[in-house]
């Protein structure tokens, strides 16, 4: 990586330094490695097809090196591109060996990269050209108060609000008939509420009490269902058991569940 390998760069030290200063500013200005390469290539002020890839690679590596010092978390894209460029540069500079293998000649790879940059540059120019055009409602204005004439072009889709409403109602009715109602949310007895409830009643649970009697009772039509009260109370009670504040027992599967406050100091007793 000494200058001896890059005779064409010998006279460019000053320019290079300028380019470095100019571009190692803020990585946010670049979308990706290609954008950086394009910006660097522009400073060479040459036809992109006659671009010196080695020189470009050099500048890019310098850019990444510098950017990394400032921004340690430099995107992987930039680093991968850097190593690829370093590789390409080395292949361009090294004397060509007879055994090329399956790989593309380095010159072609370089030309292809130049082509890509040219393409991106073309799109850049296109953006400039397009945005320079008169824009509707910024530079040119159509009639502010058009008359009642409505010519509906034949490629327009016609649908009225009424049809929309009708389509909606029809479906909701069909849905109702299927006894499926996702609109009605099942209100659940929240776990937090169940925990609070249990802590409240805990002092009174000095005897084994069936779960159903511990769970809050449902009042009126509003609110969670009784089974939700029961289920959440059970879940909360298991948490309290884990905390060591309570005990639970059940004789067998599906049998009645009993809850009881756990006396302080009492060893945790596992009941099958």
């Amino acid at each position: 990586m000494t200058d001896a390998f890059q005779p064409n760069l010998d006279f460019a030290a000053v320019e290079q330094a300028d380019a470095g200063e100019a571009f190692v500013v803020d990585l946010d200005g670049y979308e990706g490695p290609l954008h950086v390469l394009l910006a660097l290539a522009r400073t060479q002020k040459v036809d992109l097809l006659k671009l010196s890839i080695t020189r470009l690679a050099e500048q890019y590596l310098a850019f990444v090196h510098e950017a990394r010092r400032r921004n340690f978390a430099l995107a992987a894209d930039y680093l991968v591109m850097a190593s690829w460029l370093a590789y390409l540069k080395s292949r361009l500079l090294l004397p060509r060996t007879e055994k090329v293998g399956e790989e593309m000649p380095a010159e072609e790879m370089a030309a292809a990269l130049a082509f890509r940059l040219q393409k991106l540059e073309a799109m850049r120019r296109a953006v400039e050209a397009i945005t320079a055009r008169p824009r509707l409602k910024r530079d040119v204005f159509t009639r502010g108060d058009p008359e009642a004439l409505v010519i509906i072009p034949s490629d327009r889709i016609d649908a009225s609000l009424y049809e929309l409403m009708a389509a909606y109602v029809t479906q909701r009715r069909r849905e109702e008939q299927r006894h499926y109602n996702p609109g009605q949310r099942v209100e659940a007895f929240a776990l937090e509420a169940a925990r609070d409830w249990l802590r409240e009643v805990l002092p009174k649970l000095d005897q084994w009490t069936p779960l159903e009697r511990v769970a809050p009772e449902k009042h009126g039509a509003e609110g969670p269902s009784q089974s939700s009260f029961t289920a959440s109370t059970l879940s909360a009670s298991l948490e309290l058991v884990k905390e060591g504040a309570m005990e639970v027992k059940q004789a067998e599967a599906f049998a009645e569940l009993y809850l009881k406050r756990r006396a302080t100091g009492q060893a945790l007793e596992l009941v099958p």
Partner: protein, 220 residues
């Protein structure tokens, strides 16, 4: 901005012409003058324009001391609203749109659960392409399904100023769509109040790719 030296009559006339054309309503001479260099002969420009448009398809008209262009009265027969064979949305597309409109943001599965049938491929694509519907984000539930919402074009097309204006139960009743046999618990959600906090934005092109099919636009 660009020309500050006194513009000639022709230039003033051009400017008045452009102002009247682009204005959302009739303009008074004073309103026009305010946008022109001081001392500009607005009256003269209006007279000149009036003469220029005399007998044309468009004329300059004075209403309540304000000026506006309007089409010549004898051509009003041209201006009748005409519905020229616009394509109609298929039933499936319309129904899907309706559900999205009222239940947004909602997922494909939610749409299907209301409709009771699976969405045919392309229905959503069509609505997306028409700009009636947009990808909203992702539901923060397992599977992170994409959610759909209506887009501005939807409001535009149905002449709604906001989702708030979407007809509700009252309007549905008034339109005779809901009669005495309103299903128990029938509720129409208010999409203008739908929160989007349960959504995360998504990458474009992420959605499972429905086919572009032809079957969703009826021919008539």
């Amino acid at each position: 901005m660009s020309i500050q030296f006194a513009p000639d009559h022709g230039e003033i006339e051009r400017r008045v012409e452009a102002l009247l054309f682009a204005a959302a309503g009739p303009l008074s001479a004073a309103e026009i003058a305010r946008r022109l260099p001081e001392g500009a002969d607005v009256g003269g420009a209006i007279s000149a324009l009036r003469e220029r448009y005399e007998g044309r398809g468009v004329e300059l008209e004075c209403v309540a001391d304000r000026w506006r262009f309007r089409t010549a009265p004898d051509l009003s027969f041209l201006m009748t609203e005409e519905r020229e064979e616009p394509r109609r949305l298929s039933k499936a597309a319309l129904e899907t749109l309706a559900i999205i409109a009222y239940h947004q943001p909602c997922t494909r599965a939610e749409i299907e659960s209301v409709r009771g049938v699976s969405l045919s491929k392309g229905t959503l694509d069509l609505l997306l392409e028409m700009g009636f519907v947009r990808l909203k984000g992702r539901r923060r539930t397992p599977g992170r399904p994409v959610t759909y919402a209506t887009a501005d074009k939807f409001l535009e097309h149905f002449s709604l100023s906001s989702l708030y204006d979407l007809p509700g139960v009252q309007e549905m009743k008034a339109a005779g769509l809901l009669d005495l046999s309103i299903p128990v618990g029938f509720e129409v959600p208010d999409p203008s109040r739908a929160g989007d906090d349960d959504d995360t934005p998504l990458l474009p092109g992420e959605e499972d790719s429905p086919e572009f099919a032809q079957d969703f636009v009826a021919e008539d």
